[in-house]
Symmetry: C2
């Protein structure tokens, strides 16, 4: 099985993938690295990988916009999720006094906003496709530093100048595991175990007409009256006009549960645009694995 991630080696995505492969005893699988989130996502849609593991949300900086957009634009289903602890370090070939340019993924730069403002107010900031790509580039010149994982320092022969530099010490990123194909209701997902409703999550995208007051309230009501717990709700621009949104909703339960089926039927009756992204084991079921790099 080919597992697609954002590369190169030393990325947090790689760490997420290794955690997933350990959990499902996929030792025969092969990691394949892609240039950025979009390429890693499209790899599974285009058959270049069997599954792809993609960051969707960080506990400091929030949702990864490009991932949300790609979930809407493509036929891919979520079959699992993984949470990885993020410990950003400042990595460089030279000493901290030489640093003029700091490279990272835009999420990495944003998660370290206070740090950068305080310690490197005059540094030039460069966006890269991934944190590990930043580390690889920083190996070229002493005046460059990367915000990336300690593993990336090892991969590219860099010194760790400072550790845990993100704006809050506790920093986690949630990754989703994707497979090509359209999610069809109540179809049991291959590759992810069947889970009881409390241990499972379902993700969907819904579009609500802008000018219908109370539309979102009605949708949330379909969950509330069934005591289905929402774990996330996020708005994302429809890109049609300002103030017009898609809503991304995660909730507890599997779409083969009678209660969830019933709620989804109710929502379908209220909107033209409902995209079910998948039902999958929630990460909390991972805690038993007790891997130090996990949540």
């Amino acid at each position: 099985m080919i597992v697609g991630v954002m590369g190169p080696e030393g990325s947090y995505s790689e760490k997420a993938a290794k955690l997933w492969m350990q959990k499902y005893s996929m030792s025969g699988s092969e990691l394949r690295y892609f240039a950025d989130i979009e390429d890693a996502f499209l790899a599974t849609v285009q058959g270049k990988s069997d599954i792809s593991i993609i960051p969707i949300e960080n506990s400091i900086e929030g949702s990864v916009g490009v991932t949300l957009d790609l979930l809407l634009e493509n036929e891919a289903k979520i079959v699992g999720e993984i949470v990885v602890r993020i410990e950003h370090c400042l990595l460089s070939k030279g000493g901290p006094e030489k640093v003029r340019v700091i490279l990272s993924h835009p999420q990495g730069l944003a998660q370290c906003r206070h740090f950068l403002k305080k310690h490197f107010p005059d540094a030039e900031l460069r966006s890269t496709g991934s944190t590990s790509h930043a580390a690889r580039l920083a190996g070229e010149f002493e005046e460059m530093a990367a915000i990336a994982s300690p593993e990336a320092a090892e991969c590219y022969g860099l010194k760790v100048l400072l550790s845990n530099i993100q704006d809050k010490k506790e920093n986690y990123t949630r990754f989703i595991v994707l497979k090509a194909g359209k999610k069809t209701l109540t179809e049991p997902e291959t590759g992810s175990e069947k889970c009881s409703s409390s241990a499972c999550k379902t993700s969907l995208i819904v579009y609500l007409e802008k000018d219908r007051p109370g539309a979102l309230y009605e949708i949330l009501g379909t969950f509330a009256k069934r005591k289905i717990n929402l774990t996330k709700i996020e708005s994302r621009p429809s890109k049609k006009e300002l103030g017009d949104y898609y809503f991304y909703i995660d909730f507890e339960g599997h779409d083969s549960d009678a209660l969830v089926k019933d709620a989804l039927k109710d929502i379908k009756a209220k909107t033209d645009t409902l995209k079910i992204l998948g039902s999958y084991p929630a990460f909390k079921t991972f805690r038993s694995v007790n891997i130090d790099k996990g949540y």
Copy 2:
């Protein structure tokens, strides 16, 4: 009156400020430029500007995370909003064949994601504090290009290589007008006209405990049962733990309206953390101004 914006000259923030100054006949006012969103925001909190005009939301890329965080962290109130049409151009000293490095604000880079991927897959991307800062830097080397406004091209003597390069032709950014100080309920806002409820918006931040199912539904219910129309709801990580959020809600009406007062009282009873950011004229009241660069 000093109006703080993200600079340097040629930024979209400057365009928003000029629109605001025209609307309120503030010809005697002075624009003051700051290095990035945070500095421009803090200028008004720290008394370096009387008002500051800050981007909060784009119709392609969504909310500006740093602005949402600053609204929570600081005592500043929203006294108005302005919408500006965004027409990103690729600007450079040299021809398109020389471009190796593309600079812009992270929002500018994200709004042109498809364009960059298609036409400049190998270019190095650099983040700057603003689009106009990118344009100023791009004036230094022929291999650099900036994603910025046509006005920025004029300011820094650059050629417009390509126009309207964002991923959707229709592209708007909403800016908020900020003043220092804590918002107190039913206080009439100086500097913004008193408006009728349908022409007004109120913005607030609410924190809901993660593990109380239906909490968000209840909050939305306080609006729905009074037929108060929500114009936006956005979640933002609390940064305490993954899956824990603040909700940013905008709705129609002024906090001096009896109905809104009543709804706010209801919400206060449901949560410990309610921050009212302000009641202010909604941008649609600007449409009569009919400035081509506006909405």
